[in-house]
Structure formats: structure tokens, C-alpha cells
């Protein structure tokens, strides 16, 4: 056994002092290179995936059990901060508009011929409805419907709809169409007719029952498998021709109870009752309204594009402090879809009125034929016979063209 001299020991020591850190450095370099290689391989496979996606994924020879999500987000890069490069974000010119509300305009052109007891023009741009809709924040949606008619520019509806309330509630605050029956809640372009039934214009106002206030509704659980919804509304009480306000407390109250049930997969029935109470337009005395509406719908799911039927009846009773008898009104209508773009409809109408302490009754009969070139336009012809005060009858022909542009939010049922 040879004994190591002090010199060789010193060499060994020197070697260890120099070589070990060098070896460690080498190790470090290799592992960094390995990391880089891994990163490059990852990038290469990302590029390959992208290429496959661009070529159309089926060309990739992968099996379905290896299919991955297609995602626009690239995997986060694992490079060290020393290697960070700038990101080339493409300017997206449309992005600034992303928060714009959905905007749409619906035009209604109405042409009139025949006995002219309402002094209608032969052609009129009856209404232009501008609709703006968007989320306000995570809790509410904002909706504005501005109606431009030959007479005026009016906020038809403009409200915030609170959609995330607790206890099964939803609420609207602003100007809304009162939930009184069915016809009152529709906008011009949603109506199955070119006009409004006499019942609506006589009892609820020329423009319908719409006012500024708050509407709250709640669903009611029930054992019948039905959708039951109760709505309560308070309005400031100014509705032209129907309600007015003598004092600050003369508010308009409205309530609606809706019952909906599927009868079969293809048919369903809806029954609603409504009550409204407010002050007469003169600012004194009360006006109380009660209504009932029944809607039956039939639409066979597999033929839904081509055939459907809707039967509607709405009736109303009014009790006013300026007239000693109750006033009644109703309409009943039937609409049948003949073909994909063709609809035929009929309606009977009746509404009481009063003059000089005596009650009179007006009646109407209508038949209509509607053609839809597309979902965004429709042409409707309507024959209407109106008998006023049980006396003279007027025959009219209305031709209505409606056309919509822009993104119009879907309507509720």
C-alpha cells in the first residue's frame, strides 16, 4: 500500500475544489438544455396540433380516445423570465363594439282602404320601433323600446329587469307594459293582427296599459305539474284615456295570475286572470278592471315549421265610479298556420262604451292572411268590419308590411 504524499493530497484537494463545481455547472447546463428541449418539443407539438386543426382535424392520425379539446388558449409557457418576449396581440377592430347593446329596428308600414272612420292615411309608417337591449351588470338586463309613430316619439317600454333575485322572484322597474291579459303585453310586431282588438283600445287605452312603475313576479310551486306565476305591479297611474291621478297617492295597481300547463307534447293551455285598479282620467273616482284570458296552442313538434294553431279568448269587465253599470268587452281569435310561410286568422270583437249615461256596444269582425318571406319580414292583409253603436258598419282593408333589421332579442312565450 503506497502512502499518498502531502503533494498528491494537495492535488487531489485542488482537483476536487476545481472539478466538482465544474461538474455541477455542467450538470446544471445539461438540465437547462433539457428543459429547453422539452419546451421546444412542447411548442412543436402545439404547432403540429394547430396545423392539424387548420388542415381539418380528421387528417390527424389520432384515435378518438386521444382526442383533446380544441381550445383557443395556448398552454402557458414555462420559459424562465429571462427569455420572455413581447406578445403580438392582433388589434381586433370589433372588440370595442362588443359591449354595445343588441340593436334592432322594426318598421311597420300600414296601408288603408275602405270606409275611413278612424281617419287613417292611405299609407302610413304606422310605427318604427327601435329596441336596445344589453346586460347592465351581472344582476340585471336593460331594455329600451322606443316607438316612433306619425304622432309622437314615445318610450314604449324602458326598464331594468332584475334576473338574479332570491326566493324565485324577478322584477322590472321602469316603464313597462302592464301584465294585464295577453294582447296588452305585445309589441306591434308581435301581434297576430294589423290592429288592436276593440277591447284593448277601449278599456286599456289607445296605446294599451303601459306606465312607469315596478313589476314583481314569483313562481308558485304546485302539485299539478303546472307553471303558475303571480305578478304584482304598482304604477304611477297616468294612462291616457284609462287612468289618471288626482292626488299623489292615486296609484295604479295591477295583479296577474298565470297558469300554464302542457296538455301533450304538442299542445298546451294558458289561463290568466288580471285585476287593475286606479283613478279615472279626470283625477276623481275609481276605475276597476278585471280580465280573464285563455290561450290554447297546438304545434306538432316534428311539423313545427309548417303547421300550428293558436286559439285565444280574452274578456274584460270594468266598473267605473262615473257610470252606474258595468262595461264588458271580449275578443276571440283563431290563427292557423297553413304552410311554412302562410298564416290565416279570424277574430270577433266586442266592447261596450258609454255616452250621456247610456251604454252602447261596438262589434268587430276580422279575417287576415299573413305571409312571411323570412323570419325578419312579414306581409299581412286584414279585412275588418266594424259596427259602431249597433248602427252603421264600416268595411276596411288593411295591408301591413313589417320589416326588422339588427339583433332583436327573442320574445318570451
Amino acid at each position: 500500500m503506497t502512502r499518498r504524499g502531502p503533494i498528491s493530497r494537495a492535488f487531489l484537494f485542488l482537483f476536487l475544489v476545481i472539478a466538482l463545481p465544474a461538474a455541477a455547472q455542467e450538470e446544471d447546463r445539461i438540465s437547462r438544455l433539457e428543459q429547453k428541449l422539452d419546451e421546444l418539443l412542447r411548442q412543436a407539438s402545439a404547432i403540429r396540433e394547430e396545423l392539424n386543426a387548420l388542415r381539418g382535424g380528421t387528417e390527424a392520425a389520432q384515435t378518438l380516445s386521444e382526442v383533446e379539446l380544441v381550445t383557443p388558449d395556448s398552454p402557458p409557457s414555462a420559459t424562465s423570465l429571462a427569455d420572455v418576449q413581447t406578445v403580438d396581440n392582433q388589434a381586433s377592430p370589433g372588440a370595442a363594439k362588443a359591449l354595445n347593446p343588441d340593436m334592432s329596428v322594426v318598421g311597420t308600414l300600414l296601408s288603408h282602404a275602405g270606409d275611413n272612420f278612424e281617419e287613417r292615411a292611405p299609407f302610413a309608417l304606422d310605427e318604427v320601433e327601435v329596441a336596445l337591449e344589453a346586460f347592465i351588470d351581472p344582476y340585471a338586463k336593460g331594455r329600451f323600446f322606443i316607438a316612433v309613430t306619425p304622432e309622437e316619439v314615445d318610450v314604449e317600454e324602458g326598464y331594468a329587469q332584475f334576473v338574479t333575485l332570491p326566493w324565485g322572484l324577478t322584477a322590472k322597474a321602469g316603464k313597462t307594459k302592464a301584465t294585464f291579459g295577453k294582447a296588452n303585453t305585445w309589441h306591434t310586431h308581435n301581434r297576430p293582427w294589423a290592429d288592436q282588438p276593440l277591447m284593448v283600445t277601449r278599456f286599456l287605452g289607445e296605446e294599451g296599459l303601459a306606465d312607469v312603475g315596478v313589476s314583481v313576479s314569483r313562481t308558485i310551486d304546485n302539485p299539478f305539474g303546472a307553471f303558475i306565476e303571480a305578478t304584482g305591479e304598482v304604477y304611477s297611474g297616468d294612462v291616457e284615456g284609462t287612468f289618471g291621478r288626482g292626488a299623489d297617492n292615486d296609484l295604479l295597481y295591477n295583479a296577474h295570475l298565470k297558469f300554464f300547463r302542457d296538455l301533450t307534447e304538442n299542445s298546451n293551455v294558458e289561463v290568466g286572470t288580471s285585476w287593475a285598479r286606479g283613478t279615472l282620467p279626470e283625477g276623481e273616482g275609481h276605475n276597476r278592471l278585471a280580465g280573464v284570458d285563455v290561450t290554447y296552442r297546438w304545434k306538432p313538434l316534428s311539423r313545427a315549421l309548417y303547421n300550428s294553431l293558436i286559439a285565444r279568448v280574452e274578456a274584460i269587465a270594468a266598473e267605473r265610479s262615473d257610470f252606474d253599470r258595468a262595461l264588458y268587452g271580449y275578443y276571440a281569435s283563431l290563427d292557423y298556420q297553413l304552410a311554412r310561410r302562410w298564416f290565416a286568422g279570424a277574430r270577433i270583437d266586442r266592447a261596450d262604451g258609454f255616452q250621456d249615461d247610456s251604454r252602447f256596444t261596438d262589434r268587430g269582425l276580422s279575417a287576415s292572411l299573413t305571409f312571411w318571406p323570412s323570419q325578419f319580414s312579414q306581409l299581412r292583409g286584414q279585412y275588418r268590419r266594424t259596427t259602431l253603436h249597433g248602427g252603421p258598419s264600416f268595411n276596411e282593408f288593411l295591408l301591413q308590411l313589417q320589416f326588422a333589421i339588427g339583433a332583436h332579442g327573442a320574445h318570451s312565450f
Partner: protein
């Protein structure tokens, strides 16, 4: 006596504590999503679809009865790409369920993770018909996208019910395996017809036909959602004769009169393929059956 009461009370307590966690209530906009989610969720989920397989998914009526479903849902899964734009937003607004609003944890738009075709390159407008500005929403008819839908469903179910993550993963892997085996079978069956030219009524089949190499040369609709005009049909008939197109494919919810008359004049065969699970009265109860049925029908027509 006292002891019995105590024992009874204890057993009640124990019973309620040991009761299995409630099933996740999933509502899907289409029957296909429902079928795929059932594959992943199995007994742990209760899945209901709003649209039926035999109805046009673009035109579903937003009936209040659907609100009853949505009100209690833990998860709403949608096809997206504006397919449901005409009916789902008012249902969500009236659902009184903040969990399933877009952006919330109980809302899953599976178009975010699938391969989408026919994305319009430039600006779109309605002179082009009822185009989908975000791309063709009928993407679920590619088995690879079915797997991608399943992956997303599993991820979401895990998120909502972490205790059962392993079950969802296992079922997902099982689904992937079965889907792969089935796809190999379907690909082999259709291999002899690769490159065959067909016409379809609506553009519902780009993902399906591309996967199996069938060439869709035109549509009975001149533009998406627009019923055919005589001049378009005239051109279509001429083109079909020139290119010897022998098959017209239509969806079950369209009227067969027009495509049948085109078929009669060109000697082509009109067949109904079902774009959604449950579209046919029998034999389309899940995603696998749907493809078995469609592919058998298509082969039968292409044979001639």
C-alpha cells in the same frame, strides 16, 4: 320505550347522513348533449333535454313548462354558436336560477372546446339567409366532437361534484374507448363510398360528411333557413344531373315534397337522416344508435 324512540331517532339521523348525495340535475338544450352527458354521468346525474330529437333545434318554443326544469337545474349545457338564440335567452332570464346564467358555474357552452366549421371569414348579413356568424352549430355530428363534448361534460361534473371525480373520469375513458371502436366500424363501413357526392336539405352535416369523406356538393335550401325557390331548384337539378348526384339527405322536420320532386327529376334517392338523438321513433335512443342508424341508411342509399 324511550330507548326505542332514541334508537329510531338515531337511525333516522344516520339514514339522512348516509343518504347518497343528490343527483346532479342537468338540463341540455339538445338531446345529443343529453345522451353524451348520460354516458359520462351515469346514475349520478339526472339529464333532461329541452329540444326533442325530431324537432328543428333552431325553432323551439320557449314554453313556461321549460322554466320548471330550469328553475331547479344545477347545470345547463348548450350547443352555443347562436343555435338557441331564438328561444333560450328568455327562458334563462325567467328561470329565476342564477346558477345557470351564462358566465356562472352551472352554465356550459360546449362549442368552446370543439372543432367548428363554416366560420364566416368576412362580415355577414341577412341577405345571406339565416347564417350563423359564429360558425356551423351542427358540430355534434362528428364523433371526435362528441368526445370533446364528453371531456367538457366530465370536467364540469367533476367541478360540481368533486367527490365523484373518479367515477366521471372512468366513465369518460370508457366512453372514449367505445366511441373509438364504433368510429373505426363506421369509418370502415363508409370507406367504399369515400368521395361520393350528395346534396343535403339544410347545411346540418358538414362535420359528419367530412369525417367520413362524403362530398356535400349543394343544398336544397338556396341559403340557410330560406325555403327553395323554383330557380334554385332548376339549377340544383341541372347540377345534380351533370355531377351524377344520386342521394339527397334531408332532416326529419322538413317537408319532403320539394326534395322528393328534385329526387324524382334527377333519379336520386331521398333519404331522411336524423341529426339528433331521438329523431327517429325507434333505434336512435343514444348517440351510438343514432350513428348506427344514419350510417346504415346512408350506405343503403349510396349502394345504388
Amino acid at each position: 320505550m324511550k330507548q326505542t324512540i332514541i334508537a329510531f331517532a338515531l337511525s333516522l339521523l344516520a339514514g339522512s347522513a348516509l343518504a347518497a348525495p343528490a343527483k346532479l340535475r342537468v338540463v341540455t338544450s339538445s338531446a345529443d348533449l343529453a345522451s353524451i352527458t348520460r354516458e359520462v354521468g351515469g346514475e349520478l346525474v339526472d339529464v333532461t333535454s329541452i329540444a326533442r330529437g325530431y324537432q328543428d333545434p333552431h325553432f323551439v318554443e320557449p314554453k313556461p313548462s321549460f322554466l320548471l326544469l330550469l328553475k331547479n337545474a344545477d347545470l345547463l349545457m348548450v350547443i352555443g354558436l347562436d343555435l338557441e338564440i331564438g328561444w333560450l335567452p328568455p327562458l334563462i332570464d325567467q328561470s329565476r336560477n342564477a346558477k345557470i346564467r351564462p358566465g356562472s358555474s352551472g352554465y356550459l357552452d360546449v362549442s368552446r372546446g370543439v372543432e367548428i366549421l363554416d366560420r364566416p371569414a368576412g362580415a355577414v348579413n341577412r341577405s345571406m339567409g339565416d347564417v350563423h356568424p359564429l360558425g356551423n352549430p351542427h358540430y355534434w355530428l362528428d364523433p371526435a366532437n362528441a368526445v370533446r363534448i364528453a371531456i367538457q361534460a366530465a370536467k364540469k361534473l367533476e367541478e360540481l361534484q368533486p367527490a365523484n371525480a373518479a367515477v366521471f373520469q372512468k366513465r369518460l375513458n370508457d366512453f372514449k374507448g367505445r366511441m373509438n371502436a364504433a368510429d373505426l366500424r363506421w369509418t370502415a363501413a363508409l370507406a367504399p363510398y369515400k368521395g361520393a357526392k350528395i346534396v343535403t336539405y339544410h347545411n346540418s352535416w358538414p362535420n359528419f360528411m367530412r369525417r367520413y369523406g362524403i362530398d356535400v356538393v349543394d343544398f336544397v335550401e338556396p341559403k340557410p333557413g330560406v325555403p327553395p325557390s323554383p330557380s334554385h331548384l332548376f339549377q340544383l337539378i341541372r347540377m345534380m344531373k351533370e355531377q351524377r348526384v344520386k342521394v339527397i339527405v334531408m332532416e326529419p322536420y322538413f317537408d319532403h315534397k320539394t326534395p322528393q320532386s328534385v329526387a324524382d327529376r334527377t333519379g336520386a334517392k331521398l333519404v331522411v337522416l336524423y341529426p339528433s338523438v331521438g329523431g327517429a321513433k325507434t333505434g336512435s335512443d343514444d348517440y351510438f344508435q343514432l350513428f348506427d342508424l344514419n350510417i346504415a341508411t346512408l350506405i343503403e342509399a349510396l349502394k345504388n
